[in-house]
Every structure is written in structure tokens, then in C-alpha cells.
């Protein structure tokens, strides 16, 4: 475990982990949005990689991926962005969120080498379930990189125990069935699921998928160690697209104001 993960894991805060898409709407915007997120209290950052066929994502993140693709951002460029982020002072762990096909084409070994060179701390592959992740898991362990595991309310109990106890970085608990996106309600029995995950996990347990409002975040405070917000933030970035390209300073101000209205006071 590296220093950045140590800080993340030892923190007593209720952790806020945002997701944004690399290159949406431009590489420079991604850099400034990332720094703004850290400034507003992000404990780690998930950086999405644009992909033609994102089958775990809803419409909001699909559109962000199209914008990223239009900027010709790929997996390699996304990793290299992290190096720029480090030079610009970003200190929180960065997790590359990529579909497996992109990783396969770059090559797992090449990925690990680039990740180390550019200051990446973890990787999350939404279409690589536990059963298929053996090789990547081993390679990541050898290279001191966290492979972020996901568990879902539909995960069988013995598997939940296994994944939770082996999790690195943080454990990602999917709060609702379906793809990423904004939701008004969550399923029943979620607290129980989160508690079971927490009971077995050595790393912080975070809840994600569908969160978009402060009240929803409060709902999980007692049963988890933090929360992930993707679509709601990406949607705000979409609204600010033109401004981010023409008047970035103003756009970042608006973005920060939005984050302040969204986040609980203590996580800022």
C-alpha cells in the first residue's frame, strides 16, 4: 500500500469519491475539475476512460464517454493525465476506471508499467468480475496497485465474504441494480448488505450507483465509510460543457458551488 492509500484509509472522515470522465469536455478541463474536486474534499478520484461500448453505464456517462472519445482520449492518455495531475499538486489516490477490452488491447503489463510511471494508485474494471480477475489481481498485487472490487446486493453471501475480505484500496458496494445513473430510491435491505460487507472488509466500504443528493448521502452514513458519486457530477459537467471550454475559471467556480450544495458539511 502506498502513502496516498494510507492517508485515504486512515482518515476518519466520511469519504467522498467522485467519478469523472477523462477528456470530458477536454483534457485541461479534466485536470482543473480534478483539482477542484480535491479542494472540495474528495478523498480519492475515479477517472473514467472513454469507451465505445460501456455496458455498465447509463446515458449520462455514455454521453460523457462520447465527448471523451471526440477528444481522442484513450487509456494511455488517461494514465498520462494522472502524471500531469500529480505535477499540478493532486495528492489523493487516483483510480483508473476502464472497461476490460481497453486494458486487453493496451496489454496488462504495459498498463502496470504506465500506472507506476504516472502515479496511478488503482484500477477498476466494471466488466471483470471476481471470477475472471485472478491474473490481473496477482499482477496488481505485485505492482502495488489496488484492483478495486465491486459487490452487489445480488452477490451470494460466501462470495461477498471472500471479496470483502480480499478487497484493496476500498470496497465498492453497488447500491442499486442496473447501470450507473441518478436514482430517487434505493432498494430495501441495503443497510444489511453494507453491514455484511463492512464486517468482512479490511478497507473502507464505499457505497455508489445512483447517489445525487445530500439526503441520500446521509442515509448511508452509519452503514458505510464513504460514498461515490458519478452521474450527478458528470451531468453537472455536461451542463457546464460550453463554459468549461470557453470560460473555464467561471465554470470551475460554478462547479465548486454545486459541490458545496451537494456534499455534507463534514466531508468538505
Amino acid at each position: 500500500m502506498n502513502k496516498r492509500w494510507e492517508v485515504f484509509q486512515n482518515s476518519s472522515d466520511y469519504r467522498f469519491v467522485p467519478y469523472i470522465m477523462a477528456g470530458d469536455p477536454s483534457e485541461e478541463a479534466t485536470i482543473e475539475l480534478s483539482l477542484a474536486l480535491e479542494e472540495c474534499g474528495a478523498a480519492a478520484l475515479e477517472l473514467g476512460v472513454p469507451y465505445s461500448d460501456p455496458l455498465a453505464d447509463g446515458p449520462v456517462i455514455q454521453r460523457a464517454g462520447m465527448r471523451g472519445l471526440a477528444q481522442k482520449v484513450n487509456l494511455e492518455k488517461t494514465i498520462e493525465l494522472v502524471s500531469t495531475l500529480r505535477k499540478r499538486g493532486l495528492e489523493i489516490p487516483v483510480i483508473i476506471f476502464t472497461y476490460y477490452n481497453l486494458l486487453l488491447q493496451l496489454g496488462e503489463n504495459r498498463f502496470l508499467q504506465l500506472a507506476e510511471e504516472n502515479g496511478v494508485d488503482g484500477i477498476l474494471v466494471p466488466d471483470l468480475p471476481y471470477e475472471e480477475s485472478g491474473y490481473l489481481q496477482e499482477m496488481c498485487s505485485q505492482n502495488n496497485l489496488a484492483l478495486i472490487s465491486l459487490v452487489s446486493p445480488t452477490t451470494r453471501e460466501e462470495k461477498l465474504v471472500k471479496i470483502s475480505s480480499e478487497a484493496e484500496g476500498f470496497l465498492y458496494c453497488i447500491s442499486s441494480l442496473g447501470v450507473t445513473g441518478i436514482r430517487s430510491e434505493f432498494r430495501d435491505g441495503l443497510d444489511e448488505f453494507l453491514r455484511a460487507a463492512k464486517a468482512n472488509s479490511h478497507v473502507p466500504v464505499l457505497v455508489g450507483f445512483g447517489l445525487s443528493q445530500r439526503e441520500q448521502i446521509h442515509q448511508f452514513e452509519n452503514s458505510s465509510d464513504g460514498f461515490i458519486i458519478g452521474s450527478a457530477i458528470v451531468k453537472k459537467i455536461e451542463e457546464l460543457e460550453d463554459e468549461l471550454l470557453t470560460n473555464r475559471e467561471e465554470a470551475i467556480k460554478t462547479f465548486k458551488a454545486y459541490l458545496e450544495s451537494l456534499l455534507p458539511v463534514y466531508s468538505r
Binding site: S52, L55, A56, Q62, L102, Q105, E131, V151, S152, R156
Partner: protein, 400 residues
């Protein structure tokens, strides 16, 4: 030979196959695998499936010797396995019946399906009506425009057709959307995949329900030829369900097998769907296989005049049979397929689907290179009524 040990317990055909899906649906794949294994070992289920194939779809389909087509081309005799004579007009119904019976057995009341040209959508809507299930069919906006007739058929059958506007708005995106819907509704919904693709156990299951094509062919051919097997078997390949069903009983036997991909405007252009000839290893729709993609892994849009072959991936078992060289995969252009379609029309009085015309085209080349006492069997996977519009656009001038 090569396939006795595939798929392995992890759903692998060599390196191909597997389950590359979000964690949320992993339990559903396990549940499906258990239910499927139980069903195919249950005599009652198999008898019911065979009975439905017979009294609902009209099986066995004939094996027709194409006398005049063979004479015109010279060389080996050409036999047609008449999947076009199935209820709804193509082999797709075999698999749809099998999976629907399994859905009923598992107590699922809702099915979802993806479709490109609409043939699988029609088959899914048909079995949903017959077995009293609700049915949502995901179809790309672009395909809805191109296949208005099939869209109307599905609606007549009581299915809901959902327009997919993501990505390139075709079959690949409709499949993504169906998977997304499945992730959201996995607890009470059965995903009825139309081809030998997708995460394990789908490729195995689709083969199981389609292998009736090959088994009937084998028994019909050997009966007519005193126990002798055909000298070659040919089938078209998009995702590969009619081909894997046709090849199934022959894979372990000494029979040359040929899969025919769509070369579109030519495999040296960027307008083709020749996944095995031109693609590379990667993951699409939950399975590790060969696919058409950029160097960086963005999946590219294929092209073929035939909507059913217009798919950037291929079933993992075909990728394996290609790599082990058990099956030879060839590519046929739009133009060659159209010529074969017309020739079959005027020599045999059969209008086949554009997909099947690719197999017919290659069988003509093959037959010409063989002896008169030899025989080639072609899987005529579907009939061409659905393609009349496309044919009028392309060829109409000739007949005015």
C-alpha cells in the same frame, strides 16, 4: 478431435469465452447455468422441446437436393438444409423455443431480447406470445428504420420494441442496452440471447438448442447415401448460431466444415463484417472472442448488406474452431451473395435470406472444385421475404 474438452468448467473454449459482465448479473449466470444443466438432463424437458419443434415449428425441416443449381455449376451435388421452412422463417425459432421453455421452467415471466434485422426479435416475440410471457425487444434506431416490417410484426405479436439511440444505434448497441436492462431487472427477467454469443453459458446453450439442425442433416443425408457423410458442410456466420448448430455433430467427425463471413464491399476495404478474417482478440458482450476494433480497443461498426451478419463479434466457440483450424472460415462479398441468391431463385425456386446467400455463394465455389460424386450440404438458415425491400433497392432496376 479438438473440442471434446470445451467448454471447460469456467466456460472457456481454449482462451475464448468466459463471463465478462458486471458483478450484479454473475449470480443470474450461475442460476441460469444450473437450470440449463438440469433441464438438458431431464428427459421430460427434452421431449417437450422436441415436441414443440415438431408441432409448432414444423420440424424436421427437409434436406433438399438442389439439382438444377448443382448442374449449372458443375462439380459436387449441393444439398440445402431447409431452415427457411421453419415457423417465422429462420433457424432462430429453434433457440427461441428452447430458451423460452427454460424461462418458463425457471418461473420467469418476463423476457428481453436484442435484435438487429428483427428476425430474432420476431422469434422472441413469437415464443413470448405462445408461452404467455411479456417481451421487450431492444433494437437500434437505425435498424428500426431499415426493418420497419419486422418492427410491425413484433408489435403485432404483442412485444414492446424499444428504440436504442446509444452508440451507433445498431445490433451491437441494442445488445449493450439489453444487457443494461438485464442488470437492472435481473431478479425476475430472462435474457433471451439470439446468437451463440454472450457470457457463458449462453454460447453453450444456444448451440444445444440449435444442434437439431446438424443432427437432422446427418440422419437425413446418411439415410439417403447408405451411411456416408457429406464431403463438406457450409454455413454462414454472423454471431454464429446456425453454423454452430449445423456443425455440432460433425465437429468430431472427418467432415470438412466451412463458416462463411460477410466480406461486405471487400475484406480489404473498411466496409465488411469479417470478424475472424480481419478481427483481433477482445471482449464484447461478455465474452472473450475475436472482434472488429481499433488498436486501442474501441469496437468498430461492421458492414454487410445482410443485417444478420452485420455484427462486430462472433461466438467464442467459432473463435476457437478458427484458431484450432478445425473449421475453415471464408468471406463472401455483398455482390457474390446477391449473385448466388439470384441463381438459387431461378434454378430452384427458392428465395433465401441474404445471410444464407453468403453460404450458398461459397458452396458454389466449393462444389466447382469438387468431383461429381461428392456432396456439399449448405445450411439455408432463413428465407428471403424480409430482404425483398433491400433487394428492390439494390437490384430493382433489372426487373422493371
Amino acid at each position: 478431435m479438438t473440442t471434446a474438452t470445451v467448454p471447460d468448467h469456467r466456460g472457456r473454449y481454449g482462451v475464448f469465452g468466459g463471463k465478462y459482465v458486471p458483478e450484479t448479473i454473475m449470480f443470474a449466470l450461475e442460476e441460469l447455468e444450473a437450470a440449463f444443466n438440469e433441464a438438458i438432463n431431464d428427459k421430460e424437458f427434452n421431449e417437450l422441446f422436441q415436441k414443440e419443434l415438431a408441432i409448432y415449428s414444423g420440424r424436421p425441416t427437409p434436406l433438399t437436393k438442389a439439382e438444377r443449381l448443382s448442374e449449372t455449376n458443375g462439380g459436387a451435388s449441393i444439398y440445402l438444409k431447409r431452415e427457411d421452412l421453419n415457423h417465422t422463417g429462420a433457424h432462430k425459432i429453434n433457440n427461441a423455443i428452447g430458451q423460452a421453455l427454460l424461462a418458463v421452467r425457471m418461473g420467469k415471466k418476463k423476457i428481453i431480447a436484442e435484435t438487429g434485422a428483427g428476425q430474432h426479435g420476431v422469434a422472441a416475440a413469437t415464443v413470448a406470445a405462445k408461452y404467455g410471457l411479456s417481451c421487450k425487444v431492444y433494437m437500434g434506431k437505425e435498424d428500426i428504420r431499415r426493418q420497419a416490417l419486422n418492427v410491425f410484426r413484433m408489435k403485432l405479436l404483442g412485444a414492446e420494441v424499444i428504440e436504442v439511440t446509444s452508440g451507433s444505434q445498431t445490433l451491437k448497441d441494442a445488445t449493450n442496452e439489453a444487457i443494461r436492462e438485464w442488470v437492472a431487472s435481473v431478479e425476475d427477467t430472462f435474457y433471451l440471447i439470439g446468437s451463440a454469443v454472450g457470457p457463458y453459458p449462453y454460447p453453450k446453450m444456444v448451440k444445444q438448442f440449435q444442434q437439431v439442425i446438424g443432427h437432422e442433416t446427418q440422419s437425413q443425408f446418411t439415410q439417403e447415401h447408405g451411411g456416408k457423410l457429406p464431403d463438406a458442410v457450409v454455413a454462414c456466420v454472423g454471431g454464429g448460431s446456425n453454423a454452430i448448430g449445423m456443425f455440432a455433430p460433425f465437429i468430431e467427425k472427418d467432415v470438412p466444415l466451412f463458416g462463411v463471413e460477410a466480406a461486405g464491399l471487400g475484406v480489404d476495404t473498411d466496409q465488411h463484417a469479417a470478424t475472424l478474417s480481419k478481427g483481433s482478440k477482445g471482449v464484447i458482450h461478455g465474452s472473450l472472442t475475436k472482434l472488429l476494433q481499433t488498436n486501442e480497443g474501441q469496437i468498430t461498426e461492421p458492414y454487410s448488406i445482410s443485417a444478420g451478419l452485420d455484427y462486430p463479434g462472433i461466438g467464442p466457440e467459432h473463435a476457437y474452431l478458427h484458431e484450432t483450424e478445425r473449421v475453415k472460415y471464408e468471406a463472401v462479398t455483398d455482390k457474390e451473395a446477391l449473385e448466388a441468391l439470384k441463381q438459387l431463385c431461378v434454378t430452384e425456386g427458392i428465395l433465401c435470406a441474404l445471410e444464407s446467400a453468403h453460404a450458398v455463394a461459397y458452396s458454389l465455389t466449393l462444389a466447382r472444385s469438387m468431383n461429381k460424386d461428392q456432396a456439399v450440404v449448405v445450411c439455408l438458415s432463413g428465407r428471403g421475404d424480409k430482404d425483398v425491400h433491400t433487394l428492390m433497392d439494390k437490384e430493382g432496376g433489372e426487373y422493371r
